[in-house]
């Protein structure tokens, strides 16, 4: 076992892990942060997307020891300081950007990464960026709409397909 220490959502988090312990397992099982979902466990679906040192990664395809010393952000750290939903989360609610909700943590984390590097993405750019996030409920339309709305763009012209 190796001891790892990282900053998760602004707080120090440490624990003993095996070499094979995935970051997703460490977050969920060791830290109790079960908002990071494991959908496929083969890095296809993106339900486990978190930010490591500011970059979106699939927590099921990175070892916990590789995040030793890193700054990690998960869905649990996304809400505003007063506990209210942040802009992206609120937009998902307002635009019905989720149905069963399983993919939503990864969608929100990917959306946050997108808007950080591209604050006003086009619809095509949003869809391209979500290549690695799979939703089996909504057909993506409202997810894309929510992300466009969260970026402050008028989405009234985006009709339901």
């Amino acid at each position: 076992m190796t001891q790892v220490t990282m900053t998760v959502n602004g707080k120090a988090a440490s624990g003993d892990v095996e070499g094979r312990t995935l970051l997703a397992q460490f977050l969920r099982e060791d830290q109790g942060l079960t908002g990071t979902h494991i959908g496929c466990d083969t890095s296809q679906c993106g339900a486990c997307v978190v930010h490591v040192n500011g970059e979106a990664v699939k927590a099921c395809t990175m070892f916990a020891v590789e995040a030793n010393g890193a700054t990690v952000e998960t869905i649990e750290g996304q809400a505003n300081a007063d506990g209210s939903l942040n802009v992206i989360q609120q937009a998902f609610q307002d635009h019905h950007g989720l149905q069963c909700g399983f993919c939503t943590p990864g969608m929100v984390m990917s959306a946050a990464a997108l808007l950080k590097e591209n604050p006003k993405p086009s619809e095509a750019e949003v869809r391209h960026y979500l290549d690695g996030n799979i939703c089996r409920c909504t057909g993506y339309h409202n997810i894309v709409k929510a992300i466009m709305a969260a970026s402050g763009q008028d989405v009234s012209a985006i009709a339901a397909e």
């Binding site: 070499g19 094979r20 970059e55 979106a56 070892f63 020891v65 590789e66 290549d131 690695g132």
Partner: protein, 263 residues
């Protein structure tokens, strides 16, 4: 996944040392290796992580005008930092997998693994790049030796890839949407002394140069020159995503489109 130790060296010398341990294997971005370990298709006793080695990261140009990319450089970094130096290569990097994969996966990992459907080998081969290891420099034409086979010896680590920059180049791929690997992709690079065409995703022998297309384009660099060119399907991959004949057909289509994009 079977358990293993993880070594995290910060210098290349320490990584080489760590790799001399029994059953040791290098770990770069892990975007292929970790799924492989989960499927128990590999069972190393030690993984030597290369992602903490700063001397293996980053992009620069050398005196010969080549774009030199450290092996531990992620696809996302290549997409950003090579955009002005070698746009076709940056474009390839920007379309590998998805954004989260591009933030972890590395050029060295891709080149060392030599997946028959990986993107980078096509660029390395078409550019006539040089693969640099901790021991030697290997020309792309000698480096790729078949599906998942390379010239790398036990304990040898890819440290850098040096790309000559062509006058014009384009990478055209048709995506296999579930895996986000190319079903078939073609990298065309036009140099003053000739054209190089590399094909990935198609052959049972991994990435290869399509010499007929190179010859045709050498005389007349136009989509028309390769419009009627056919490639034999005998050695092509045949699986549930596409037959050998379909892949052979796509090689022609991708080549034509790549040339049309730059001619």
């Amino acid at each position: 996944m079977y358990n293993f130790d993880v070594e995290q060296p910060t210098t290349l010398a320490d990584a080489v040392q760590a790799l001399s341990r029994d059953e040791a294997q290098p770990l770069s971005g892990g975007q292929t290796l970790i799924p492989t370990l989960k499927a128990r298709l590999a069972a190393p006793s030690v993984l030597v992580s290369l992602s903490g080695i700063d001397e293996m990261k980053g992009v620069c140009s050398d005196d010969a005008g080549r774009v030199c990319i450290g092996a531990a450089t992620t696809h996302a970094t290549v997409a950003r930092e090579v955009a002005d130096l070698y746009p076709a290569l940056a474009g390839l990097a920007a379309r590998i997998g998805d954004p989260a994969v591009r933030n972890r996966g590395t050029i060295g990992g891709s080149v060392a693994n030599n997946d028959p459907s990986a993107c980078y080998p096509a660029a390395v081969l078409a550019s006539g790049a040089t693969v640099v290891t901790n021991k030697r420099e290997i020309a792309a034409d000698d480096y790729f030796q078949g599906m998942f086979e390379t010239a790398l010896k036990e304990g040898e680590i890819v440290t850098e890839v040096k790309f000559p920059v062509p006058e014009a180049a384009h990478y055209e791929k048709i995506l296999q949407p579930a895996s986000r690997f190319p079903l078939v992709a073609v990298f065309v690079a036009k140099f003053p002394d000739g054209v190089r065409v590399a094909v990935t995703g198609a052959s049972n022998n991994g990435v290869f140069r399509w010499s007929d297309a190179e010859a045709a384009l050498g005389g007349d660099f136009s989509a028309q020159a390769v419009a009627d060119l056919k490639i034999d399907s005998a050695d092509m991959i045949s699986d549930l995503h596409g037959t050998a004949e379909y892949r052979a057909h796509l090689v022609g289509v991708m080549t034509k489109r790549a040339v049309a994009a730059i001619a």
